[in-house]
């Protein structure tokens, strides 16, 4: 009502310029949101909400059926006094200490080997990646058969080369964990090898050429060019490996079910047994919170170290 009086001519112009601007900015925000939304909804519904619920559940006593009961720190107290929890924690650490460096070294080694111009290099790359996409149950069953104490080919070979008392592998409390680690390294190395191969392709060939001109040996080139250039890849592989090691469940569940006794029982199995099997979701959530804090702490430490070494 007032505008036509004050500025009859500029009115429509101003409207055309200023008015749509705000909706456009808003609509841009909405477009942005709409791009994130599908992913975010999935993340929120399937990860974020359950994680928060799990945090809350760790202070409750809940069997998924009756009304949850607040128990404060009782779940954590029970955990501290529970022998099985400590056994599982030790086993998880043992597994990670074996699995992470071995997989890392094997993946790097094979990546460097298969980055050369070899005959049938594609075949070998595929062959090494194959375990990763093979059904886990099949992998576990075959490894169990290979490592069978009496009739397994591994022990038959060991006997043939003169070892009279080869280890009982998955039936021995001492050897079950090494057996599981070997199987899991074999399974995982293909995936991390692909990551390293991608990393290797990004190293400029000039660096090697220059080093060669300077008379650097193969080992020196690997030590002073390849390894430093791969640092971002190594960092990523290390983080992913650590997380997956602490979360390990499937392979152990199928191969040994945590046995013999509790020799290969890991934390995620305790979580599964207490929660899904026994229906004690409070206690199981408390254990998973501990696992979460452990993985988080290790990851944060790794990030810190990485940042320091970048400086």
């Amino acid at each position: 009502m007032t505008t036509p009086v004050s500025a009859p001519a500029s009115g429509p112009v101003a409207a055309a310029v200023s008015a749509p601007r705000r909706p456009r900015r808003r609509s841009r925000t909405w477009v942005g949101w709409s791009f994130i939304l599908p992913n975010f909804i999935g993340f929120a519904a399937l990860t974020l909400v359950p994680v928060i619920a799990s945090l809350a559940l760790s202070f409750l006593d809940w069997d998924s059926y009756s009304t949850p009961r607040w128990v404060g720190l009782a779940n954590f107290q029970r955990m501290i006094h529970n022998d099985t929890f400590w056994t599982a924690l030790k086993n998880t650490a043992y597994y990670a200490v074996g699995h992470v460096p071995l997989t890392l070294c094997a993946a790097l080694g094979f990546a460097v080997l298969l980055n050369q111009k070899l005959k049938a290099v594609r075949f070998f790359r595929t062959a090494l990646f194959f375990p990763y996409i093979t059904s886990l149950v099949a992998v576990a069953v075959v490894w169990n058969m290979l490592l069978s104490p009496d009739q397994g080919p591994v022990n038959q070979f060991l006997r043939a080369v003169g070892i009279d008392h080869p280890p009982g592998w998955t039936t021995s409390t001492t050897w079950a964990m090494p057996a599981v680690i070997v199987a899991s390294v074999w399974r995982d190395l293909g995936y991390y090898m692909i990551l390293y191969l991608a990393g290797l392709q990004t190293i400029p060939a000039e660096l090697y050429e220059a080093a060669e001109v300077d008379g650097a040996s193969g080992w020196q080139r690997f030590r002073y060019i390849t390894v430093p250039s791969l640092r971002p890849t190594t960092f990523f592989v290390l983080i992913m490996l650590t997380i997956s090691s602490f979360k390990v469940f499937d392979l152990i569940q199928v191969m040994t079910e945590g046995g013999p006794g509790r020799a290969t029982l890991v934390l995620s199995q305790v979580i599964y047994r207490e929660g899904i099997v026994q229906g004690r979701f409070g206690y199981s959530s408390a254990v998973s919170m501990v696992l979460f804090v452990i993985v988080l702490t290790i990851t944060v430490i790794q990030f810190r170290l990485q940042r320091r070494s970048e400086r």
């Binding site: 505008t3 036509p4 009115g11 429509p12 409207a15 055309a16 008015a19 749509p20 909706p23 998924s64 059926y65 009756s66 529970n82 022998d83 099985t84 069953v141 169990n144 058969m145 490592l147 069978s148 104490p149 009496d150 009739q151 397994g152 009982g168 592998w169 998955t170 039936t171 021995s172 409390t173 945590g258 046995g259 013999p260 006794g261 509790r262 047994r273 899904i276 099997v277 026994q278 229906g279």
Partner: protein
């Protein structure tokens, strides 16, 4: 004037109007779909609850295709009650327990639930998720119903058993004949006799080796046998009563008459393969295995000539004590057809249901002479006196006593069983550890 201008500038394009209409349409359709979904979920079939008209009840069960007694019961019941239609809800056997727990927690209305084991039954019953059937249970004769007592929860019953499995000793008739052992010898076997016999039946080497006996990797083979026959308490926390049974088993393993536990476990050996291919001459196993043998023989998968004898005992006093577990049907508290569902449960546990179960080659809970005759009249079932004696044990002890600590104790006993059987712990250490852990971690 200006306002209309503004409007024109922003909206007045005919195309966008079309868009608005379209958008509305989409919202409406989506809303309608959501509404339809909601009503479909929440509404249920309350309209069908009329007592007289044709009704459909749903029965939660497992592995419908390979568990013949379910079909036998359902077909028989529908024939006897044409106004009630029965619809099986097939669940994978391994997932059954978790699936039913989740269904009940979510207020599912599946009318009849099969109680796969007594421990789960006790959980559902005490949570008030099942309809009481105390009157119906009290009307049954406990002397004829093997396993009925296992379903009593503080004086109430929430399920009626239709099936009762217990352990017997299977034997390979051909291998026994070759060794010159008369079958009558198996009539009154002690565990010591069993061990001697198993050693004498062992022959051959390498791939051709025939083991005298096969004991599967389950802890029950040793532990539940010992508990049932010595009167020991599996939940008690003192496991000295396991000792004789373990000593005998470990000795058999050492002597080579029994496939080593470690091999059986790591190779995931199937007990059916061991027995039906003649790799083992004797095998203690549950009565359910007879149904497998009958079906496999019929399908031409095996030619093994098998028989059943009573489970060996601690003493040769002629009394047979074995262990086993019953299976029952119960009615869901949320059932919308409770009367029809109860009718189904009663029918299945009754004479007609038991006959149908026996005809399927499975051991019914109700045991009368007529039903035993039905079972032994089946083609392929060994009908000799030995098998008939095996089928009439004096006492059947529940495999695992019901209690809120049963599953925790089960876990500990399983873990320590592995360590004893693989020789990772000496027998005494293993038994000591069992008692210690059960007292500390569960008690």
């Amino acid at each position: 004037m200006n306002r209309s201008n503004r409007l024109t500038a922003t909206y007045a394009v005919p195309k966008s109007k079309e868009n608005v209409v379209k958008r509305h349409l989409v919202t409406t359709i989506a809303g309608a779909a959501a509404l339809a979904l909601l009503t479909a979920c929440g509404g249920g079939s309350s309209g069908q609850a009329a007592a007289d008209g044709p009704q459909t009840i749903k029965v939660a069960l497992w592995n419908y295709a390979t568990t013949p007694e379910f079909k036998a019961i359902i077909d028989g019941f529908q024939q006897a009650n044409p106004q009630i239609k029965v619809e099986p809800v097939d669940i994978l056997a391994d997932d059954y327990q978790q699936k039913v727990t989740t269904m009940l927690a979510g207020g599912d209305t599946t009318d009849v639930l099969t109680m796969k084991n007594v421990i789960d039954y006790a959980r559902y019953g005490t949570r008030g998720q099942l309809l009481p059937m105390t009157d119906q249970a009290k009307a049954l004769d406990p002397a004829k119903y093997s396993g009925l007592k296992s379903y009593e929860l503080e004086g109430k019953y929430f399920a009626l058993p239709y099936r009762q499995d217990f352990w017997v000793l299977y034997y390979n008739k051909t291998l026994l004949k070759q060794a010159g052992v008369p079958e009558s010898k198996l009539q009154n076997l002690t565990w010591a006799d069993y061990a001697t016999l198993a050693k004498s039946l062992t022959k051959g080497d390498g791939q051709a080796k025939v083991y005298g006996t096969y004991q599967h990797t389950w802890r029950s083979v040793v532990q539940a046998t010992a508990a049932a026959q010595s009167g020991g308490d599996l939940l008690g926390g003192n496991y000295g009563f396991f000792k004789d049974q373990y000593a005998m088993t470990l000795d058999l393993q050492k002597s080579g008459a029994l496939l080593p536990w470690a091999t059986a476990k790591s190779q995931k050996v199937s007990y059916n393969t061991m027995f039906s291919t003649g790799k083992a001459a004797l095998m203690p196993m549950g009565t359910w295995y007879a149904a497998t043998l009958l079906a496999d023989t019929k399908a031409g998968k095996t030619k093994v000539d098998w028989g059943m004898a009573p489970l060996p005992q601690r003493a040769a006093d002629g009394k047979t004590t074995t262990f086993g577990s019953p299976t029952a049907f119960a009615v869901n508290k949320n059932s919308k057809h409770a009367d029809a569902a109860k009718k189904f449960v009663e029918w299945a546990s009754g004479e007609a249901g038991a006959t149908a179960v026996a005809k399927a080659g499975v051991t019914p809970s109700l045991q009368t002479q007529a039903i035993l005759d039905t079972y032994f009249g089946l083609p392929g079932v060994p009908g000799d006196a030995l098998a008939k004696k095996a089928f009439k044990p004096d006492t059947v002890v529940l495999e695992m006593p019901v209690g809120d600590k049963s599953s925790d104790v089960d876990q500990i006993l399983t873990e320590e069983h592995e360590l004893i059987m693989t020789g990772q712990k000496s027998l005494d250490d293993g038994l000591g550890e069992m008692s210690k852990r059960v007292k500390n971690e569960v008690g």
